[in-house]
């Protein structure tokens, strides 16, 4: 938050007066209707956001935690036309703010537009824009700190089981004051209150968990985890899907059937092969046995004749 020193405030006021008088002069020559003056701020601005524009639009995200006096400024660099004055206005959420149209004078090759806003509550958050006559605009999106990781896949759980929906605000972002949980859709959200049988909420500084017990199919849907700040609440949607045990059971049984089939096929093939082998082998064995007996007889004879054994 920047506090403008006193000398700058004086300069600004002088500038505004000058611009106003200039505008008035121009107004008499160019257009009959008088243009209103920019309201001189009675309070000092707590926060200042500046957008420097050349020929393209710019967008800025402004994170707000508490009610604040916000000064939004736009500086448009002059192009080759070098018009001495240019008109501009402020808009909120696409609609022009009444009595905000101004004529801005050219100074130091720039058209400088500034307005002070008092953001008091959640309804004041939104998109504020300064729009210049030549179509160039700067958008300031005022919002509470957003969640970093938004889970795009639904959380899956089973009927009669419980599920824990987690929510986390990272270290880099400011700490929320409290946490709230909601259920519903984008338009209508209902806050979930703690019921010991069904919902349990456990919140720490930066984390919050919603435990839904004894799930049924009706519990499926979108749950919103809200990080509460002084100025508003950031919502994080988490989708919950509830399925029955039969869903994973089907692939499981499929795999089991495949295993049983493969094992049966392998054993059958082996049995068939061994049957073939035994029928072949029986014939061979008889021949081999004859050969063996002859060899052994030879060996026994040689052994007994050539060796003296100590028994």
């Amino acid at each position: 938050m920047e506090n403008m020193p006193a000398s700058w405030k004086l300069l600004l006021m002088l500038l505004l007066v000058l611009t106003a008088s200039c505008g008035r002069v121009h107004a008499e020559t160019l257009a009959p209707s008088p243009k209103p003056l920019a309201s001189v701020p009675a309070l000092s601005a707590d926060m200042r956001k500046v957008a420097v524009l050349k020929s393209q639009n710019s967008t800025q995200n402004v994170q707000l935690l508490n009610p604040v006096n916000l000064s939004l400024e736009c500086s448009l660099t002059a192009d080759h036309n070098n018009l001495p004055n240019i008109s501009a206005f402020w808009s909120q959420d696409g609609r022009e703010i009444p009595d905000s149209r101004l004529t801005v004078a050219l100074e130091n090759q720039q058209y400088h537009l500034q307005r002070l806003f008092y953001i008091s509550g959640e309804e004041m958050l939104g998109s504020y824009s300064c729009v210049f006559e030549n179509g160039v605009r700067a958008d300031f999106i005022l919002a509470t700190p957003p969640f970093g990781e938004v889970r795009d896949k639904p959380v899956v759980s089973y009927v009669r089981d419980f599920v824990v929906l987690p929510c986390k605000m990272e270290e880099a972002k400011p700490k929320p004051l409290s946490w709230r949980w909601f259920r519903g859709n984008k338009t209508h959200k209902e806050q979930i209150s703690e019921q010991p049988e069904r919902f349990q909420i456990h919140s720490e500084e930066r984390k919050s968990k919603l435990k839904v017990i004894n799930l049924t199919h009706e519990d499926a849907g979108v749950y919103y985890c809200g990080a509460v700040y002084a100025i508003g609440t950031t919502m994080n949607p988490i989708e919950l899907k509830v399925i029955t045990y039969q869903e994973p059971l089907k692939p499981f049984i499929g795999i089991l059937i495949e295993v049983v089939l493969l094992v049966a096929v392998i054993f059958l093939c082996e049995k068939r092969r061994s049957k073939k082998n035994t029928s072949k082998g029986n014939e061979e064995n008889v021949d081999q046995n004859n050969i063996k007996l002859q060899e052994e007889e030879k060996g026994a004879e040689e052994g007994s004749s050539m060796r003296q054994r100590k028994v």
Partner: protein, 515 residues
């Protein structure tokens, strides 16, 4: 002295089921000698590789994807990060620490039955956890039950690949183990989609169905035909030759069998390998976890940090397969252990270099290199184990190896986290992991050197030889000759094939033959 006519066993080579044949622990294993002449080397073997690939996806990739559920668990059960992160540690450590149980059952039943049992158990665990009402329930259903199921499936699935391949073992393992990288790549977006559509309960249910595909993997793992005889171990003191013994009780049989199963543990080469695995497992868990946070801390943005992780994953897959293919080449097969040591050493070096890099253009190629060697050594672990203990013991040895991985997996993340909190930077964690890798590699190098020296010494004094003669009831005779080691081991152990009948055997001690 007694004249001996040496009778070579049938087949012209060392008989296949002969785990005690490397009786002389100082003799170097000859990786060129095929350990199992029955290895099919292709044909159905590739189906087994496919089964192991799918099993690796179902186990390793699913374990990694479980961490995607943590945010959901945290919101639903209202717990903090460390409480939910325990689930992942529980699954991982249960999978590794119960690996010996998996290998024990794989030996007793068959690899196929164990993998299918593991598949049923882990699938049941995941389905059960979809009904969880608290985090403690998840600890048990996910951490214990699913972890146990994974442990039962993992070791036998990997072991059976080693039984089907000898010539192309490293390539087969490379393809099979690349499943974890490819699986994570494919499964991560799929799990994300499942969580979005069905929430974590439905996603766990469907994941349980997916994991039941371990039963299909198990069905593919056709057991190799063993000889239809039982194997028994006879121990005979050298001092008292020629004793006739009949084998009495089944209990003795069982004890002997178990001792036979896990007898490889006391081999010095395996002991050295296990210690090096301990250091390796300590080193490998931290850097992967801290790579992305380190990148974020030096100013790389989120998307590029994720890109680093995917580079790591993809180059891991490439490293798996290419290193497996490379170390299968005939010339390099003798130097497989050296390749393994090189991969670990390079991994340690990359790890140590990371803290000196401060920008994305430097971190990206390093993460690719790091991922490549990570995939390389992961593919070589079962190969090196199989080279050290032989393919008969592979199932049990892998169980022991993964058990040794489990302990550092539990310890390393907390220690790494403590270091990061204490020093404020990631440098200490990366240095510690890099040093761990280098230590593991140098330990193996030292062991190879010592073995080489001892072998040179032994060439001058050949050890004595003992001979077993087994006379069968049907009249055939089997003879086996062994060298006794010099270190005072006075046992001469042999295996006789026993066709369910009694056996007469005799024993001879001979002078060392002239060389």
């Amino acid at each position: 002295m007694v004249v001996i006519k040496e009778q070579r066993p049938k087949g012209g080579r060392r008989a296949p089921e002969d785990p005690n044949a490397p009786e002389d622990p100082n003799a170097p294993e000859d990786p060129n000698a095929p350990e199992d002449p029955n290895a099919p080397e292709g044909g159905w073997g590739w189906m087994v590789v496919a089964g192991c690939f799918l099993a690796t996806i179902c186990i390793r990739a699913v374990t990694r994807c479980v961490s995607m559920f943590f945010v959901e668990f945290q919101t639903h059960f209202e717990k903090d990060y460390s409480t939910t992160a325990w689930i992942h540690s529980l699954i991982d450590s249960t999978t590794m620490l119960c690996a010996p149980l998996g290998s024990f059952l794989g030996n007793r039943l068959s690899c196929r039955a164990t993998v299918m049992l593991g598949g049923l158990l882990s699938s049941a665990g995941l389905v059960l956890s979809s009904f969880a009402s608290s985090v403690e329930f998840l600890y048990i259903s996910l951490g214990v039950i699913t972890g146990l199921g994974f442990a039962l499936s993992y070791t036998p699935a990997i072991a059976i690949v080693g039984k089907y391949f000898v010539e192309r073992k490293a390539l087969a393992y490379g393809i099979a183990l690349s499943g974890s990288g490819i699986g994570t790549f494919l499964l991560a977006p799929a799990v994300q989609l499942l969580i979005e559509h069905y929430s974590w309960r439905g996603a766990l249910l469907i994941l349980g169905g997916f994991v039941s595909n371990l039963c299909v993997c198990g069905a593919l793992m056709r057991p190799l035909k063993d000889t239809e005889v039982k194997k028994l171990v006879f121990n005979q003191e050298v001092v008292e030759p020629s004793i006739n013994t009949k084998l009495s009780s089944r209990c003795q049989n069982f004890c002997l069998k178990t001792r036979e199963d896990f007898g490889f543990i006391w081999k010095p080469s395996f002991l050295v390998l296990s210690v090096s695995f301990l250091f390796l497992a300590y080193g490998c868990s931290s850097p992967v976890v801290y790579l992305v946070p380190y990148a974020l801390s030096v100013g790389v943005d989120h998307q590029h940090a994720a890109f680093l992780m995917s580079t790591f994953g993809v180059s891991g897959i490439v490293g798996n397969i290419t290193f497996g293919w490379i170390t299968d080449r005939k010339r390099l097969r003798k130097y497989r252990m050296a390749c393994y040591m090189l991969a670990i050493g390079m991994e340690g070096l990359c790890c140590m270099i990371i803290p000196f890099l401060h920008s994305l253009p430097l971190l990206a190629p390093l993460s690719a290199l790091y991922g490549y060697f990570d995939g390389a050594y992961v593919a070589l672990i079962p190969v090196v184990t199989s080279d050290t203990v032989g393919s008969t013991y592979l199932t049990s040895a892998l169980g022991a190896v993964y058990f040794l991985h489990g302990i550092p997996y539990l310890l390393s993340p907390p220690i790494g986290g403590w270091l990061v909190d204490h020093t404020g930077t990631y440098t200490a964690t990366f240095f510690l992991s890099g040093a761990s890798f280098m230590l593991s590699s140098s330990l193996l190098a030292a062991a190879v050197f010592v073995r080489y020296v001892l072998m040179m010494c032994e060439r001058t004094n050949p050890p004595p030889v003992c001979e077993w003669v087994c006379e069968w009831v049907n009249g055939s005779v089997t003879v086996k000759r062994f060298e006794l080691s010099k270190k005072g081991r006075k046992r001469c152990t042999s295996i006789c094939h026993l066709p369910f009948t009694e056996l007469n055997w005799s024993f001879l001690l001979l002078d060392p033959p002239h060389r």
